[in-house]
């Protein structure tokens, strides 16, 4: 099974499935709108597209080996409660075809109580409850099986993660396990979130975006380790990328990537403290943030998981950010792509990458039989024997 990275077209939102060579898969964020919830909606049915790519267990239930919520925003978890089973695996509603999550990966934010700075949507609240349930299960039993497992990525500043030991991954650590098993086909470096800084005055949106989980995933290809790196960081803002560069400038390889998911749907705020809509071309790029996001390897691809990037005042996605990313890519011969634009803005489709022994490569979409015309055939005909 080849390593694949699938980015789903969810407008300004993230929904990324990484399928490792071992067969394990990691879903990072979800945003379900469109046809999955309303058949008349022209947007793609991303849940169908997701399920087509997921394995099913002995009872026919689709499952993800692990699900990571980078941070509790609706554009990263919308539809979670409706399409995923949350709660003890024994309570799975038969016939619902909900997706089972064998292991949840979450930031320590799930331990935080709602406050003026921390109000979250219903799906995010459901996820936090589920993560806490699993932590409780682990505390009570000292072990957990499929559907009860949990990993906490990063330490809580309030000490709530101090006793978690085996299910806690600390920032800067590299880990290779998923759903309780060691996996030789990937290593992941946890780059963020860092324990909260003292700056309490940030507005609530910023607080969340600051706390996004950032992973650099090193994937094997055709059995050869570390053939491609995927850097993904939710909605992490300029502050975070500056900090990352300042901490890791002397070991820039930690931030090197072949595939980068442009943070916050190609937002200018990941690269600059200035406002694009207010300052336009006068807005300044943060040199440290640009360095943090600029460790592109030869031929690297930066993907905006967003609506089509237009030359306008919108942000995100921001045309200025796109230009900055293109500038980063130019010296290494890389490519900037936008999920919302391919194959066409009118009907975007899943963007897929494969990791081979020769590194990351984009998968060109094959024309499906239903859209092929020519040779007199529409659809397909069985071939007989004569």
């Amino acid at each position: 099974m080849a390593t694949k990275v699938n980015l789903f077209p969810v407008e300004n939102g993230d929904m990324t499935l990484v399928k490792f060579e071992s067969g394990a898969n990691l879903l990072i964020d979800v945003r379900v709108t469109g046809a999955a919830d309303d058949p008349d909606e022209p947007a793609p049915d991303v849940i169908r597209l997701l399920k087509e790519r997921l394995p099913r267990d002995a009872e026919g239930r689709p499952y993800v080996t692990a699900f990571l919520l980078t941070h509790p925003h609706a554009d990263h978890c919308l539809g979670l409660e409706k399409h995923f089973h949350l709660g003890p695996p024994g309570d799975y509603p038969k016939g619902s075809d909900k997706i089972l999550i064998h292991e949840t990966w979450s930031s320590p934010m799930v331990f935080r109580r709602a406050s003026k700075h921390f109000s979250i949507c219903a799906d995010a609240a459901a996820f936090c409850r589920e993560a806490r349930r699993r932590v409780r299960f682990w505390r009570d039993n000292g072990y957990a099986g499929d559907g009860n497992r949990v990993l906490i990525l990063g330490e809580d500043e309030g000490g709530k993660t101090d006793d978690l030991g085996a299910i806690l991954i600390k920032v800067d650590e590299v880990f290779s396990r998923i759903n309780g098993a060691y996996d030789s086909t990937f290593t992941i470096r946890l780059l963020a979130p860092h324990p909260k800084s003292d700056d309490e005055n940030l507005e609530d949106m910023r607080a969340h975006n600051r706390s996004s989980t950032i992973l650099n995933i090193s994937m094997s290809g055709d059995g050869v380790a570390d053939r491609a790196r995927f850097l993904t960081g939710g909605d992490a803002e300029v502050l975070v990328w500056e900090a990352l560069w300042q901490r890791h400038a002397h070991r820039a390889d930690w931030l090197a990537y072949d595939l980068l998911q442009a943070p916050h749907h190609c937002s200018w705020h990941s690269l600059s403290w200035d406002s694009w809509s207010q300052m336009g071309e006068d807005a300044k790029v943060s040199a440290d943030a640009r360095n943090g996001l600029g460790q592109a390897r030869a031929g690297a691809v930066i993907v905006a998981s967003s609506r089509p990037v237009k030359d306008d005042a919108n942000d995100p996605p921001c045309i200025r950010a796109k230009r900055e990313y293109q500038a980063i890519l130019r010296p290494v011969g890389g490519t900037f792509r936008c999920v919302g634009e391919e194959p066409s803005e009118r009907s975007p489709d899943v963007m897929e990458f494969e990791v081979t022994r020769d590194g990351l490569r984009p998968l060109r979409r094959r024309m499906s039989a239903s859209v092929i015309t020519g040779g007199g055939a529409i659809g397909r005909e069985p071939l007989g024997h004569g």
Partner: protein, 776 residues
């Protein structure tokens, strides 16, 4: 070729659609301007943007030279889409990548994008799929994955070949050892083309036996029919060469794909070097050259050279990593190579010899070698079953039939008359065995009746020990009875196949473990089963459709008339049944009765299968020493036990129904009639009444079309005891009253006892009212 001028006829709608499809394809970077050639074909360059690994993509090409944006020319013939477009790559594209169509270096390389006919793919999936396949091909070429170890090594593509060499690949591979070597083998061939023609084509078979020769024997090894016929026979030699190990002791492995470019002897020697067999080629051919010096040939003769390349993994479609690559060179006296190293060498096509393994593969069978089987009866049904079997590589190991294959048999026999053959009468067994040998399968022909052959030891029990079944396709009642009479240890299980009712019903019976139930039990069960189905009873039980067909002046044949097609409609599923039991094992829970019936539409064929439990065998006591068996079906045992339970404390009884075989002195009891109302039951005796009994027996006779009848009576004993004096008196009375032997069966608390009621005198006139024979 020129670009379409303004005012040129517009593109055909199909080509225009194809180009629109190309523009819409995610992997297409651009579509060039269409060009029209004189023949009316339209060529267009389509640029594919490949999904290369990103590092190569940034460099613009893969390390093996495939471009990140690769131009491909599609040429649409005037009759597109009835014909598929031709696909051509850049002239500089590396031909050493596998899956490139063979062709001269002067032509642009053509990728082989689809494993099949491109026209079929176009019709089935449309032009978009051809684009998909082309993109796949280019991406695989760039990443060196056109050869997929899981699929196997792609043999050297060499499609346009005029010479065909049939060779037994496994036999040749078996000669290959660790050291490099060669073998001279025979080559029997047909040459097509007038003797004076420059271009002649050869079609021949390479033998598997080594052929030694020296200067004096050489001329007889290389000889061709004289004459002016355009097809002539000849024999020559084939040189098979294989590689050895390199200086480090590792086998020489040819792991680089090389397109077929050999056209001269010098190039052949070079290619042999790449495969590690140059030395054996040079050494062996030196001997050939020396022998040819004294040879006086009247023209050029073919010499086959087969190189063996050891590949890094299994060759596609083979179970070996050894690829055989044959060539043909035309040699001449006295120099052998008329133009020295520049003598023309032609790549030749290899075809497998017909082998059971090849036939099994073609039939979708697994490659297991199954136990053999014997076919008894090589008539129209038997021969067809045998040929179905042989075509799937599982033909019979022995064919038995005393009959002669007459001309009139050609109406339906599985064998096909030979052109020019003088109509010599030939034994059916030998004729069938001869045909099976054409399928590379050896069947022993026994031109005798199975009855005689088993009696006189032509076929011994030990000969049949390995067989999984003996298939009786004779439709002969005596043969069935004879087979039923043989001890279980002496015969494999019998599978009987017979057609009835002018081809409206087919019957297959399969004996159980230790031949219980046996073939005669099973046919009696089939009679009982058919009684319940009036349509089946009419076609099967009343099958009397034998007719006398004139086959010559004053000469006729008695047979069942039906078409060859109808016969085939039954023969095919019958072989399916047999092969299934051969493959999956014979039934472990009794026997089987399968009915195939043709529907009212005369076309549809429905099969039903029923399991038949083993019978209970009771030996009957007889006064005159005439041993008889009563074979009681499991159902009859159940009915008797039920009746006994209904009458606790008294004896009870009833009438036994079934079939009697005089040939085997056996009663096959398959049913019981209840005791008449006026029967008397007491603790010491049971007296069978008569009220309504005659009517019931008449009704049975009618519904079973006379195949089932009264065999005698049964009654119970309350204690474990043999026949009482009263029982013996009754038996004697019955023997006098009835012409046929009758059975008197006693159910004791633990088993059965039986008395035979027959006098020798009475048995002489016994009738054996069995259904008429079917076609076989």
């Amino acid at each position: 070729m020129h670009a379409l001028p303004s005012g040129a006829p517009p593109l055909s709608p199909a080509v225009a659609r194809a180009l629109r499809t190309a523009r819409a394809h995610d992997g297409v970077d651009g579509v060039g301007a269409p060009r029209l050639d004189m023949a009316g074909s339209v060529s267009v360059d389509i640029r594919f943007r490949l999904g290369l690994p990103i590092a190569w993509s940034s460099a613009g090409r893969s390390p093996n030279g495939v471009l990140a944006v690769e131009p491909v020319t599609f040429t649409f013939p005037p009759d597109y889409p009835f014909r598929s477009p031709q696909i051509e790559l850049r002239r500089e594209f590396d031909r050493c990548l596998a899956h490139v169509q063979p062709g001269p270096p002067s032509e642009r390389p053509q990728p082989c994008v689809y494993d099949g006919l491109l026209g079929d793919l176009l019709a089935a999936r449309g032009f978009g799929e051809i684009l998909n396949q082309t993109l796949d091909w280019l991406e695989k070429a760039a990443t060196g994955r056109l050869i997929d170890p899981a699929q196997g090594w792609e043999p050297v593509r060499r499609d346009t070949l005029s010479d065909i060499i049939v060779a037994d690949a496994p036999a040749l591979r078996a000669m290959v050892g660790r050291k490099p070597g060669h073998a001279w083998l025979g080559f029997d061939y047909l040459v097509c083309g007038a003797p004076s023609a420059v271009d002649v084509a050869y079609h021949g078979a390479v033998g598997t036996e080594r052929v030694p020769f020296n200067p004096s024997t050489f001329p007889e090894k290389v000889a061709e029919e004289a004459g002016t016929d355009s097809v002539r026979r000849g024999r020559s030699l084939a040189l098979f060469l294989w590689p050895g190990c390199d200086p480090t002791g590792q086998p020489v492995i040819a792991d680089k794909y090389r397109p077929e470019t050999v056209s001269t002897w010098a190039e052949l020697v070079e290619r042999a070097g790449e495969y590690g067999c140059r030395t054996p080629l040079v050494d062996a051919f030196a001997w050939f050259g020396r022998c040819a010096q004294a040879w006086r040939s009247a023209g050029r003769r073919p010499l086959v050279v087969i190189l063996c390349a050891r590949r890094p993994f299994r060759v596609i479609g083979e179970d070996s990593e050894l690829e055989l690559v044959p060539y043909l060179v035309r040699v001449e006296a006295p120099r052998a190579l008329p133009n020295g190293p520049e003598t023309e060498v032609r790549p030749a096509g290899h075809r497998h010899v017909v082998s059971p393994a090849l036939l099994r593969r073609m039939s979708g069978e697994d490659d297991r070698v199954l136990p053999p089987w014997t076919l008894v009866g090589c008539g129209s049904l038997g021969s067809k079953i045998a040929i179905h079997a042989a075509r799937s590589g599982r033909g019979p190991g022995r064919v038995v039939d005393p009959g002669i294959l007459h001309l009139h048999n050609m109406a339906r026999h599985g064998l096909v008359p030979q052109r020019w053959a003088i109509p010599l009468p030939e034994g059916k067994a030998h004729a069938l065995a001869g045909t099976l040998s054409g399928f590379a399968q050896t069947a022993e022909a026994v031109p005798r009746s199975i009855v005689a052959a088993l009696r006189d030891g032509t076929i011994r029990a030990s000969d049949l020990r390995r067989d999984f079944a003996l298939v009786n396709a004779t439709a002969s009642l005596p043969v069935r009875e004879f087979l039923a009479s043989r001890a279980a240890a002496d015969l494999p299980r019998v599978i009987e196949t017979t057609l009835y009712g002018a081809g409206r019903v087919g019957l297959v019976t399969v004996e159980g473990l230790d031949r219980n139930p046996n073939t005669a039990d099973l046919v009696t069960e089939a009679y009982a089963a058919a009684v319940e189905d009036a349509a089946l009873a009419d076609a099967f039980l009343a099958s009397t459709d034998l007719a006398r067909v004139p086959i010559g002046m004053g000469c006729g044949s008695t047979t069942m008339m039906m078409s060859d097609a109808r016969l085939s409609a039954f023969a095919a599923p019958m072989w399916e049944v047999i092969s299934r039991f051969g493959r999956d094992g014979m039934p472990k829970d009794g026997g089987r009765v399968l009915f195939g019936t043709v529907g009212e539409d005369g076309l549809s064929l429905a099969w039903t299968s029923r399991a038949v439990a083993p019978v209970n065998i009771v030996r009957a006591e007889a006064y005159d020493g005439d041993p008889h068996e009563i074979r009681i079906s499991a159902r009859v045992c159940d009915l008797i036990d039920e009746e006994v339970r209904r009458w606790p404390g008294v004896e009870t009884g009833g009438v036994l129904v079934g079939r009697y075989s005089e040939a085997t002195s056996t009663f096959h009891a398959v049913d019981v009639l209840p005791a008449p109302e006026d029967s008397v039951r007491s603790a010491t005796e049971f007296v069978l009444g008569t009220t309504g009994l005659r009517g019931a027996l008449e009704a049975l006779r009618g519904s079973s079309r006379g195949t089932l009848y009264c065999l005698g009576t049964w009654h119970s004993h309350l204690v474990e005891s043999g026949p009482s004096p009263l029982d013996r008196a009754t038996a004697q009375a019955m023997a006098v009253a009835r012409l046929t032997p009758s059975a008197l069966l006693i159910r004791t608390p633990t088993g059965f006892r039986a008395l035979l009621c027959a006098s020798v005198e009475a048995a002489v006139g016994a009738s054996n009212d069995v259904t008429n024979a079917g076609e076989g």
